[in-house]
């Protein structure tokens, strides 16, 4: 990135902060619109939530009692919070790699201009993305139903299983089934990311490779892949963050059940903040604390991972 940093006016080593700020005045001007949106609709609500997390507050009346870190202490002892936390981690690890791989394969195939119907195929693969979750929930409940559902008919008919499988009702299977539905719904977006990445491969490389007599598969493996590989980090990050937003799908299908078997973090937060047992008050403060704690923990895990990667790299011989 430093290579792009070319336009700082020549100045003495003792340049004051004011001068540097002034030198970058156009940059700051460019930042204004983004900063306003970021500050108003991301940063501010987040800070507000962090404040709520210190309150005993239902979210709908004006009684807000400041309780300090009590919500956090209670959360750490709440087995359902801990279980939901690991379920979210599991879900992300289960879906993201699959979604990325599937999206990549589809993108590489459908990037071929000579494939006449590629635009149609892309649109078809993209269709689940735009289909409302409420509809998907109904359709999938019927598709996966152990009672005359087409998928069960297929696998029992083929003799793969003896009895119909309760994909969404079995505590052991429900997370796998939801992961499958999730990947199906969102792979279209990942494919778009990869397609966008593929556009950065310069035309000439394909030409050059062809002149050298390289096969299509080899072009993909040795020419295209190294170029788009760096995008994997960004795409993986985006997919991972999106996977934490599986809430609408789960709420519309299993509502976190059976008996919490599919209660991921967002379902936990929703349950405590908006859907308490009938006749009792919601706990927005507690739910906010869960959100903050979850975020911090995920960040901690990510930082640990980055550190671990750096460490192994440093050990590699010859690395600068």
């Amino acid at each position: 990135m430093s290579t792009a940093d070319h336009d700082i006016p020549a100045a003495g080593p003792r340049t004051g902060l004011g001068t540097r700020l002034w030198a970058h005045r156009v940059d700051y001007l460019f930042l204004v619109p983004g900063l306003v949106i970021f500050g108003a609709f991301i940063l501010w609500p987040m800070l507000a939530s962090q404040y709520y997390s210190l309150l005993d507050w239902s979210g709908f009346d004006s009684r807000r009692i400041f309780v300090g870190l009590r919500n956090y202490r209670e959360l750490l002892a709440d087995e359902f919070f801990v279980a939901a936390f690991w379920r979210s981690v599991w879900f992300t690890l289960a879906t993201v790699p699959l979604q990325m791989l599937l999206g990549l394969v589809l993108a590489v195939i459908l990037n071929n201009r000579l494939l006449k119907l590629s635009a149609v195929f892309r649109t078809l693969i993209f269709l689940p993305v735009v289909t409302p979750v409420a509809v998907i929930a109904i359709v999938m409940a019927l598709m996966l139903s152990p009672f005359n559902g087409p998928i069960n008919d297929l696998i029992t008919g083929a003799g793969l299983v003896q009895r119909a499988v309760d994909f969404l009702g079995s505590p052991q299977l429900v997370m796998w089934s939801l992961a499958g539905i999730y990947v199906w719904k969102w792979t279209g977006v990942t494919m778009i990311y990869w397609l966008a990445a593929l556009q950065t491969v310069p035309d000439e490389l394909y030409e050059a490779a062809r002149l050298d007599g390289v096969t299509g598969r080899q072009v993909t493996m040795y020419v295209v892949m190294p170029i788009i590989a760096p995008f994997a980090v960004v795409i993986g990050l985006i997919s991972a963050i999106s996977a934490l937003n599986v809430f609408p799908l789960i709420q519309a299908t299993t509502q976190g059940g059976p008996f919490f078997a599919s209660e991921v973090m967002e379902v936990f937060i929703f349950r405590t903040a908006f859907a308490p047992p009938s006749g009792t008050f919601p706990q927005l403060g507690y739910a906010s604390a869960a959100g903050v704690l979850f975020g911090l923990a995920i960040m901690g895990l990510t930082i640990l991972q980055v550190l671990a990667v750096r460490r192994t790299r440093r050990k590699e011989p010859g690395h600068g």
Partner: protein, 502 residues
Amino acid sequence: MIYRRTPMSRRGFLAGASALGIAAAARPAFAQDAAFDFGEPMMDMPAPNGPLRWLDSGDQKGVFFEPFLAEYGQARGIETVYDGLPWSEIATVVPLGVRNGSAPDAFTLPLDMPPAVAIDQGWVQPLDPYIPDIAEWRAGFPAGSFVEGINMRDGQTYGLPFTSDRRSSCLLLFGREAMALTEFEPSPENPLTWDQFRAAARQITENSGGQIPGFIIGGAQVNRWRDVTLQMASRAGAHFGMAGFVTGFDYTDGEYKLNSPEVVGAVELLLAMRDDGSVFPGVLSLNAPQARAFTAQGNAGMILQGPWNVPIWEAENPDFDFGFTWTPAPEGADGRTYTNSLPATANMMFLNADAQNPAHAAEVFRLMGTLEGQTAWANVVGPSDPAIFPAANEQAQMSDRSRAVIALQEQQVRATPVPYSANTGFVEVARLFQMPTPDIAQTVQGLFAGQLTDVQGSLDTLNQAMSDALDAAIEEANAGGANVTRDELVFADWDPMTDYSG
């Protein structure tokens, strides 16, 4: 549902939803012969200040109020806007609307909010200044409609109790074709015992070659497990509160009874039916509307569900021949099922403290508390949300089956005492009470799904946790100056076979 003021939009839905089968009518029949007579204004009405806006939780209420308000608006020269929203949205929309002044003139409170809290918050205002003959008007309601601590506060009237909570969400509904596969002929006069219920489910399943599972439940919705278990336990003779901090609380001795033999028996019945293989496969991922749709299709034999199915099925599934009876009870038992108060608090309407058109909203409230208004309601909604005036249900147009369902519920459902009338300090307890996790609904779902295995043990744990949570809430409320004791929740004079009348 969100209903809007498009005149034609209602027709299709009305055709489906109305109990009357007046499919072709452009509007629901509020009155038998002609248009609803709104009469003379109850007072010198102020000029409209923008549209009259109304918000409730939709469904059948939307079917009635959207056109009813529109006609009222025509009669009084005011524009009207109706919105019906799911509860999860009301919980957000009403508080935010109140805060920034965009809340409607009349609204329902979030589902979990005791009215006393809304009154303390200054969200709502009393109806007394707007209804000139309010004492007389209140006297027209059946006893128990206005409860201090619920819709009354310091002698002022706040909430409009226009529907009765004398409903059971767990009546036994069944397809006659499926039931013909069994040796039983249930009817309101001839309810099924638990053993017969189980046997019927097994016979339907077996005799249909597995094509019609005997019993279905919307098991993804945990509240269905709570309702089915607690109502069957009530029929077995347990008598306790049904929601909130009094869930499973026995008012006669002040103890929770969630681990009583009645509750254990009800859960074991469900597990036995599961083990028989007579429960619809995949119920743990079905919500209640899906489960009901399967029943009406003849894909499942029996369901424990509410009276609202009757008019819907009659209109949308005219070929579906179905019957209904009491919630099953064990051999020799004939308990009732319970509601926490006679008026349905979820339907109760309140007047916005900052209403733009308070007089108009109050006039609609007043109309809903007259025999004419109540009859208009019953004509459209039938047994789904029974009118609170028994006379209105009697003279309304509805199918014999609908009338019979209301009659059965008159026998089956009883009102428990109301903690808030004993001491309004219990509002604080309700606010502070932290429901244990898993609660009764989740526990039963876990037992059914097999993640929990020890029925008695799980329920013992739950019962103790409920009791501890109540003590903690009382202690905390008292620390805040509420001044309540657990003894005040004992109503030794309550006969569980009758409504508690205070």
